[in-house]
């Protein structure tokens, strides 16, 4: 962390750490099969395949236990009713869970992007160096808190507050806005979309902040200085030079942040209210695909159909997160700040 935060931004073509210290020019000396380098390579290169093998085996196992033909297109319908007593009337439709996932992850992402853009700018541009360093570490530390801790905090501390203070107030004063009008029954308990979005936002902010912050830090010093030398104010330099530069990291921040938000399970499970319906307001209880999985998996061992349905949900979730993360990393790599990515 510390190293990341204080490492000076390098010039246009930063040497990539790790390849910069390649030994002896190639071609002259025949490679010694017992050199430390060769031994290290022999030891590590098979190990390098392990993550790929894991990923492949997860995908294969899920695909093999998939019974999509049992469900067909009704799988995207609105009724989720794992009727254990009469399986013939059981239906498995995940529409409301998909909507719940999209709403929580989407709103959380928008809020997190706004927040982390502000944080990144203040950390890189405005705050004096020592304060910036400390606050950078603190933001990064937020990423390391186990999600169940966020869940407990949200559930124990925030839910009563939301239920008794914030939700009634928001509903009363902003009730004319769509999504804010609600009956007291809706925000009883305090759990629901709003609390889930709030918790998710806090959980996504460290990631998106790190991406934006490092891209701001990577701006060549000359560009900033020439801007200032031309008589631009700091605000103008920020707006004309630094922000356009940072803009190229926004797609990867959005994608990686979305991947984090849509896959988050335990914390959301604890605060989202777990109602299966189309939300009628921001205070409605809801469910996501991830909370559906964690909530019903234990029962699924008893009802084969439920297990099959949950496997489909897991596959869908896996596909979404793979696509989002691959795209995010691609954008990230295409930016010029690949060398500063480790901190994220």
């Amino acid at each position: 962390m510390e190293d990341q935060g204080t490492r000076p931004a390098l010039g246009e073509e930063p040497p990539v750490v790790g390849s910069g210290n390649a030994p002896a020019p190639p071609g002259r000396v025949p490679p010694n099969p017992f050199s430390r380098r060769s031994i290290l390579r022999a030891l590590t290169s098979p190990v390098g395949w392990i993550p790929g093998i894991f990923l492949a085996s997860i995908v294969v196992v899920l695909m093999l236990s998939s019974h999509f033909q049992n469900f067909g297109l009704g799988f995207f319908g609105p009724v989720w009713n794992p009727n254990p007593t009469d399986p013939s009337v059981a239906t498995y439709g995940i529409l409301y869970f998909v909507i719940g996932s999209a709403l929580t992850a989407g709103f959380a992402l928008v809020l997190a992007m706004l927040l982390s853009l502000a944080i990144a700018i203040s950390l890189v541009v405005f705050l004096p160096s020592p304060a910036s360093r400390i606050l950078t570490s603190l933001t990064d530390l937020l990423a390391g808190i186990p999600s169940v801790v966020y869940g407990i905090w949200g559930y124990v501390i925030l839910a009563p507050y939301f239920s008794k203070q914030l939700d009634p107030a928001l509903s009363h004063y902003l009730g004319w806005l769509p999504g804010f009008a609600a009956s007291p029954t809706e925000y009883a308990g305090g759990t629901g979309l709003l609390l889930a979005i709030f918790i998710l936002t806090i959980m996504v902010v460290p990631l998106t902040t790190a991406l934006l912050r490092e891209s701001l830090r990577a701006i060549p010093r000359e560009q900033v200085e020439s801007g200032l030398a031309l008589g631009a104010t700091r605000w103008e330099v920020l707006r004309r030079v630094q922000l356009p530069w940072a803009r190229r990291s926004i797609p990867s921040a959005v994608l990686l942040g979305f991947g984090r938000a849509v896959g988050e399970t335990v914390a959301v499970f604890m605060v989202i209210g777990n109602e299966v319906k189309l939300p009628t307001s921001l205070f409605s209880g809801s469910s996501t695909m991830a909370t559906l999985l964690v909530g019903q998996f234990d029962s699924a061992f008893e009802y084969p159909d439920l297990l099959h349905a949950l496997v489909e949900v897991a596959l869908l979730l896996l596909a979404i997160s793979l696509v989002v993360n691959l795209l995010g990393l691609r954008y990230f790599g295409s930016g010029r700040m690949a060398h500063v990515g480790a901190g994220a």
Binding site: V125, S183, G189, R234, G295
Partner: protein, 415 residues
């Protein structure tokens, strides 16, 4: 501006040295991390070893040490965590491992034979049990309470019968001052407020019992019974009994089904619980017969019902007395219906907690230890006021213990 300049103007030489140190630093930190991991491992194993010694006392004969594995119901796991070490203290060569995994996992692990004992709140039906060569061994009695959060009325035990409760959870009754509720509670000023029914969002034996109660109490109950069922769209879900308690505390005008193990916790939050109508109370409340409080006596009586009323006698039964008008209804895994209830004041949602063990063990000499452990649970482990009361379970009745002991005879063991 300074901030920018500071950061952007490193002399190259500085950069080189900085990288040098940071690399040396990273080598040191890798070494430190490895050392830390090694230390942690040593401490972990060493600590385990020390614990083993302190528990085992003279356990030097590790050759004869036996590991009994249990997994399943999170309701059983706490008392299992008391039974296990207490048994090990008496029998130092036997160690019991306990898994807090849920009834579903307990059942599937027992079926696949990956554990010696599967703990579950829901019995295995006789057919399934026979298929997997398992037997249901009840080891304790639990019950379920219907709690509510009604400001000003939490000190009153409202009278609710099964039909009313099922209609609330089924959406047919939506406000507290509904005539059906009012009729059962003459003289109580019920609020004109929407009822918020809370449910368990995780798969749970409590949901199994409660949905059985609804299913058997109201003909209009839509969604069957099981450890996970569909609930009303407006019913918020909470995780675990603990979640239900704190969720209800935050939810005025809510109602929730909560295992008796959490009674003390719920009362500590000032929540109220209902006296549940027995099977004689009918839907319109005109014959409210008895409303029964979940006292120890009222609960224990139920445990014998399956053994006294069924032919053949069975413990594979949820002791759910549904209020379908005109019918006395035990829910029977064994398939019987409408036995006569000799019990004068049966609390309507009572459950046995089961351990599942194999009747065709791969290793009969190992199974001997499992059977001995369960026999100990049935005798010393069931002493009133001791280990069971720590988790608010009730001891088995002598009738059930006698049945269990006989059932354990079926298990082939060898020494």
């Amino acid at each position: 501006m300074n901030a920018i300049d500071d950061r952007k103007t490193p002399p190259p030489i500085d950069e080189l040295t900085r990288r040098g140190t940071s690399k040396r630093g990273s080598g040191v930190s890798v070494a430190a991390a490895v050392a830390l991991a090694v230390v942690l491992l040593l401490v972990g194993f060493g600590g385990g070893y020390a614990l083993e010694k302190s528990y085992g006392g003279s356990t030097t004969s590790s050759a004869s040490s036996v590991a009994i594995t249990e997994t399943g119901s999170t309701l059983i796991a706490p008392v299992m965590s008391l039974w296990g070490p207490n048994y090990t203290a008496l029998h130092p060569n036997v160690a019991v491992s306990v898994g807090f995994t849920g009834s579903g996992t307990g059942i599937s692990s027992a079926e696949s034979g990956t554990v010696d004992i599967g703990g579950t709140d829901a019995y295995l039906t006789p057919a399934t049990a026979a298929q997997y060569n398992l037997i249901n061994v009840p080891v304790a009695i639990s019950a379920q309470l219907v709690f509510y959060n009604l400001p000003g009325l939490n000190q009153v035990h409202l009278n609710l019968n099964g039909t009313v409760v099922a209609m609330i959870y089924g959406g047919a009754i939506t406000t507290w001052n509904n005539p059906l509720i009012q009729a059962a509670n003459p003289g109580v000023k019920l609020p004109d407020q929407t009822i918020i029914p809370l449910h368990r969002s995780d798969g749970s034996g409590d949901t199994f019992m409660f949905s059985s109660f609804c299913y058997l109490s109201w003909k209009g109950w839509p969604n069957g019974y099981g450890t996970t069922v569909k609930w009303l769209a407006s019913s918020p879900g909470y995780n675990g009994n603990g979640g239900m308690v704190s969720g209800l505390q935050n939810t005025q005008y809510g109602i929730a089904y909560i295992g008796i193990s959490y009674e003390t916790e719920a009362l500590g939050y000032g929540l109220g619980y209902a006296a549940l109508g027995d099977n004689l109370a009918n839907a319109n409340g005109t014959n409210p017969a008895n409303y029964i409080l979940p006292s120890a006596t009222n609960i224990s009586q139920d445990a014998n019902l399956g053994l006294l009323n069924l032919d053949p006698p069975s413990v594979a039964v949820s002791l759910i007395l549904g209020g379908v008008p005109g019918a006395t209804n035990l829910q029977l895994g064994a398939g019987g219906t409408n036995p006569s209830v000799a019990d004068p004041t049966p609390y309507p949602i009572v459950n046995l907690e089961y351990l599942l063990i194999s009747t065709h063990p791969a290793n009969p000499s190992h199974q001997r230890y499992v059977v001995e452990f369960i026999q100990w649970i049935l005798s010393y482990g069931n002493e009133p006021g001791k280990q069971l009361s720590a988790v608010s379970f009730l001891p088995l009745t002598p009738t059930v213990v006698g049945y269990d002991m006989e059932a354990l005879q079926q298990v082939p063991v060898s020494s």
